[in-house]
């Protein structure tokens, strides 16, 4: 390869980071279309089989009936979805705050690393479903036990990923900043925080998916509102279509939360994504 003159940096020195535009569009469309097509096929097959075998509705409703239930109960579903969303949002916020706090303690305080980290891991072996009813007894019947369950389920990936990220920071980079005269706080802000953000976002994405499950578990064991409560109410009355409709709303909630986090990640870590793209192009030119 020809090296360009030193005082005239040419375009050859920069990795060509953009492949042909039409190719990229096609890839992007396929990325969305492929799973949607598969989903549509599966739903169609479901409708067909249920009709052919004349399965009773209370056992397995066809997708069309679920669609009807969704439309007919939209106000009811929205009301309960709002409650669940509140639990998820509050629990998630608690998980984020405690998760990041614990990660900082684990990364920068030896005693905490020794004492707290094993307990954090041990906490994950406790079956949440077993302590959820106890929380009702201890805390009460309102939103709070659900918020706690959501936080318990989703703080773990945040702590572990963030602590890993903080510890993965290149000590030579830290030294480079120290040699420039940076204070500990400046080193933290300019190297450790940005360096660990990609790890934090990985943790948050896992936590986002888990937090919806946490809310449902919390409602399952005792609640007076929320999508989990709605399902518990509907199932014994054989309103199976409504149960499925609630499941659909729940999964939409989870997906929306995930996309929200992924969008924030994209904004915050533009450098990271463009680095990944450059690397991927390097590997398969």
């Amino acid at each position: 390869m020809l090296k360009s003159a030193w005082d005239q940096p040419g375009a050859t020195e920069v990795a060509q980071a953009t492949p042909a535009a039409p190719g990229r569009w096609r890839a992007a469309i396929w990325q969305w279309l492929a799973p949607l097509l598969l989903l549509a096929a599966l739903v169609g097959l479901w409708e067909l089989l249920v009709r052919v075998f004349q399965t009773p509705r209370w056992l397995l409703p066809p997708p069309s009936a679920i669609g009807h239930a969704l439309a007919a109960n939209s106000a009811l579903l929205a009301r309960h979805a709002l409650v669940t969303t509140q639990e998820v949002a509050a629990g998630f916020a608690v998980a984020l705050a405690t998760g990041v706090g614990l990660a900082l303690a684990i990364a920068y305080w030896r005693v905490a690393a020794r004492a707290v980290y094993p307990l954090v891991i041990a906490s994950q072996t406790i079956p949440i479903i077993a302590i959820a009813p106890l929380l009702l007894v201890w805390v009460g019947y309102d939103l709070r036990p659900k918020v706690i369950v959501v936080a318990l389920i989703s703080f773990f990936p945040i702590v572990v990923n963030m602590a890993d990220g903080l510890r993965a920071v290149d000590p030579e980079m830290v030294n480079m900043l120290r040699s420039l005269g940076a204070s500990r706080w400046q080193v933290f802000r300019k190297v450790q925080v940005p360096g660990s953000l990609p790890y934090l976002f990985s943790g948050i994405k896992i936590a986002a998916a888990a937090s919806v499950i946490g809310a449902v578990i919390g409602e399952w064991v005792g609640a007076s509102a929320g999508l989990g409560y709605l399902m518990v109410q509907a199932a014994p009355r054989f309103q199976t279509s409504l149960v499925f409709a609630a499941v659909l709303v729940l999964s939409a909630l989870g997906i929306a939360l995930f996309l929200l986090v992924a969008g924030a990640e994209r904004l915050a870590l533009r450098w990271h994504h463009s680095a990944k793209r450059a690397k991927a192009l390097d590997l398969n030119p």
Binding site: K3, P9, E13, V14, A17, G181, V191
Partner: protein
């Protein structure tokens, strides 16, 4: 040239704890750099050259011996050297989440210089460092040579009277390297800084510096001090003179002797 020493290392020794015992890296390193001088350290690989710079920069303290740094009249010794010299480490260590401009202004930013002023000062030098048009690129989009120039710019912009350069041209091919050396000579004449340059290239050491310290294999001692009598301004052509060849041969003798090459 004034003879005021900016940097004085006296019998510096450095050992690291390792496994069962200790790893002695520097045994007896003494050197002095006066204002306006560029001094080279040359030695076998792994002998402790980077460690000397780490000690000067204040990232490490010597196990024994002393380091006196008097860049601004006051002399600072132990525990006060961080932030007083501009250090370009062996690796570029660019922050991947910052653009070229963002990396370049790091030193000024740490000193509390306003972002706008810092950017202006960096932008004014982009051209000189062969980086014009690349201000907004992220490091992973740059070639190795360009990354080194960004690290270099970051170092120069930190704006300290003493500059430490650890094999700044190590990763470059011969031609680019020669270009960079010529450029450095030019730049040095312009900024009037004092510097310590680590290199493993004898010609580079002779061409760029006032004095060359030849280090032994680990643990490093100063084996030979060579004053370079070539006139300033230097030029690449001087490498063709017999005087230059004789200097080069005498340094290589010491280095090869260290490596045991002559006895093999």
């Amino acid at each position: 040239m004034a003879s005021e020493p900016v940097l004085q290392l006296t019998a510096v020794a450095k050992a690291y704890a390792s496994g069962q015992g200790e790893l002695r890296v520097l045994q007896d390193v003494s050197l002095a750099v006066r204002r306006g001088e560029l001094v080279s350290l040359i030695g076998p690989s792994g002998c402790g050259k980077s460690t000397v710079l780490n000690v000067i920069a204040g990232l490490e303290e010597p196990t024994s011996g002393s380091v006196a740094l008097s860049t601004d009249g006051t002399t600072s010794s132990d525990g006060q050297r961080l932030g007083r010299v501009a250090y370009m480490p062996q690796k570029d260590l660019l922050l991947p989440w910052r653009t070229v401009l963002g990396n370049a202004v790091l030193g000024l930013e740490v000193q509390g210089v306003g972002l706008k002023l810092a950017r202006q000062r960096a932008e004014a030098l982009l051209d000189t460092f062969g980086l014009s048009g690349f201000a907004q690129e992220y490091p992973h989009n740059l070639s190795g040579g360009m990354r080194q120039r960004v690290a270099f710019l970051r170092t120069i912009l930190a704006d300290k009277p003493l500059v430490l350069l650890d094999e700044p041209f190590g990763a470059l091919d011969a031609l680019t390297r020669a270009e960079m050396q010529a450029w450095l000579l030019d730049l040095w004449a312009g900024v009037g800084r004092t510097g310590v340059l680590v290199t493993h290239d004898v010609e580079e050491a002779l061409l760029l510096s006032h004095r060359v310290y030849v280090l032994s294999a680990r643990p490093a001692r100063v084996r030979q001090v060579v004053e370079v009598p070539l006139p300033w301004p230097r030029s690449r052509r001087m490498a063709a003179t017999t005087e230059f060849a004789a200097l080069k041969a005498s340094i290589l003798d010491v280095l090869w002797d260290q490596a045991g090459v002559l006895h093999a």
